[in-house]
């Protein structure tokens, strides 16, 4: 009897692991930056390049940094959601315009609406590397102390907003 049960148990265990593997997304690389301070930068603003923005300006506020580009296809999916979220004024969204041309980026915002308090231009993608960006769009939730508390890889969805991001923002506001 044992000679049948043991292989069966091993097979079932293997099958369970492989089945779990089917639902994992290998493209999602967990970020080591979560619970670490958001890397500092000073970049020119997209609309007013003479003015600059730095995450240090946001001390004491819970905010979102959304990495986007006009050439990014999935950004189009999340954009209406961000516009809607911005209209609710629950959390300020700042944009990191990643490896984009200024004219293209402005045109894109004119067409789809501008959910950002402001966007900054990371033309060469250097700040992107500092933030561990490897696939646009990516979104960071940053707390009052300037610590990254969550990173969304890929587009923000209705589900990720209601399940993760908004509850987290509400919690961080109380901290």
């Amino acid at each position: 009897m044992m000679r049948f049960i043991l292989p069966l148990v091993i097979f079932l265990a293997l099958a369970a692991f492989l089945f779990k593997g089917l639902s994992l997304n290998p493209r999602e690389v967990p970020s080591p930056l979560v619970d670490k301070p958001a890397p500092a930068f000073t970049l020119p603003q997209l609309h007013e390049p003479k003015k600059q923005f730095s995450p240090a300006d946001m001390k004491g506020k819970v905010w979102m940094l959304n990495v986007w580009a006009s050439w990014c296809v999935s950004c189009r999916d999340e954009h209406p959601l961000l516009v809607e979220l911005a209209a609710q004024k629950t959390v300020p969204i700042y944009g990191l315009n990643y490896k984009d041309k200024r004219a293209d980026a402005e045109m894109w915002l004119q067409r789809g609406g501008d959910p950002y308090v402001l966007s900054v231009s990371d033309t060469e993608g250097r700040i992107g590397i500092d933030y561990g960006v490897y696939g646009v769009p990516e979104t960071y939730v940053i707390d009052k102390q300037g610590i990254i508390r969550y990173k969304q890889i890929g587009p923000v969805t209705m589900q990720s907003l209601s399940d993760t991001i908004l509850p987290l923002v509400a919690k961080l506001e109380k901290e």
Partner: protein, 152 residues
Amino acid sequence: MMRYLAILMLALLPVFAHAGEAQDMAADPVLEKRMIVLAEKLRCLVCQNESLASSHAELAEDLRREVREQMNLGKSDQEIIDYLVSRYGDFVLYDPPMKSYTVLLWFGPFALLLIGVGMLLYQVRKRRQIVPETQLSEEAQKRAAALLNDQE
């Protein structure tokens, strides 16, 4: 004759058409070489089964530029690796570090091998007990020989 020569030259074509590393500017060949050696140990995050050295993804180009610049600033290979790990996690390393959660990765195959050897030994020993070596009497041996010869 010309035809054979042409065929021979065509056959040799693949020898010269090797795929090189992704090309970038190579201002300082020594530094470039050091960068490539390091980048071969790092994984491109976009096309995940390619090294940073051979990937043509735009992010890989940017990361190579970053590595090159940090080398120019006099940083050591280890410092650059530490920087990239702090941004992208252990995932960028092709050689996974030994950590509590990678123990299974490092020692799992050896554990499986040991289990296999153990099971083999156990089975061999058990079989020996079930089928002991039989000692035939002289009479039985003669009979067996007779039977075997009979068949021929």
